[in-house]
């Protein structure tokens, strides 16, 4: 089962993981990654009050669907679920979920990391940070491009 959901509501990582393995005897590995909203980027910086995630409706689903197809071409996945939230989130809130299942752990680990690396640089989402002193759009990080590039 391969699923992409773009939603404003929260998600339950344990329930999503269980949904990919329930009733199956061929899954030997499940990797679950959850990305959360954190309060502080650097020590001494103004703490984050909230993040607002803007997205390109339609393309966000399609692009993540294409990333899953790419992952399936590279690893023998049995299932994957990717959920990305949009809207306003506060520190501690869930933002993104990637769950991958495979017969063996190598494929599940690698595919989950690949999906996250590519999602950060390809999926059309933008973060606006709200702090006490100002609101600002998060600049893209070179380290994210490098993380995506290493997959070739």
């Amino acid at each position: 089962m391969f699923t992409v959901r773009i939603q404003s509501e929260d998600f339950d990582p344990a329930a999503e993981s269980a949904a990919l393995t329930r009733g199956r005897t061929d899954v030997g590995a499940v990797v679950t990654f959850t990305g959360l909203c954190r309060a502080q980027d650097a020590p001494g910086g103004a703490p984050l009050i909230a993040l607002t995630l803007e997205h390109y409706p339609g393309m966000a689903e399609e692009e993540i669907g294409r990333l899953i197809e790419e992952a399936r071409a590279r690893w023998p996945l049995l299932g994957a679920t990717v959920i990305h939230r949009f809207g306003r989130m506060e520190p501690g809130d869930n933002i993104v979920l990637v769950v991958t299942t495979s017969a063996h752990r190598g494929a599940a680990f690698e595919a989950a990391e690949f999906l996250m690396d590519w999602l950060k640089t390809h999926a059309p989402f933008w973060k606006l940070e709200e702090r006490a002193d100002e609101n600002s759009w998060v600049p893209a990080k070179d380290s994210d491009d490098e993380a995506a590039d290493r997959w070739g």
Partner: protein, 83 residues
């Protein structure tokens, strides 16, 4: 052609979307960005450094030299920061 703007590109231009007739000679993504840049202060600000503005043609990532062809929708936006 329908044009969509996101994040700070949207804020600088002051529009989420608009419909425009492509002028003569505008045939690639870069041509369109260069044309839009001449349409006023907000556009000039949004496209002041065209290298940092990304585009998608009919919901697929496009490069500056991608031909607009028969695409119905183009979007301009900053580098993505999701995840």
């Amino acid at each position: 052609m329908k044009i969509l703007y996101f994040a700070w590109v949207r804020e600088r231009i002051g529009l989420e979307a608009e419909e425009i007739a492509l002028p003569e000679g505008v045939s690639t993504v870069a041509d369109l960005a260069a044309f839009l840049k001449t349409r006023g202060e907000g556009y000039a600000h949004a496209f002041e450094n065209p290298r940092v503005v990304r585009a998608a043609l009919d919901r697929r990532h496009a490069r500056p030299d991608t031909p607009l062809g028969a695409a119905r929708e183009i979007a301009f936006f900053p580098p993505m920061t999701g995840g």
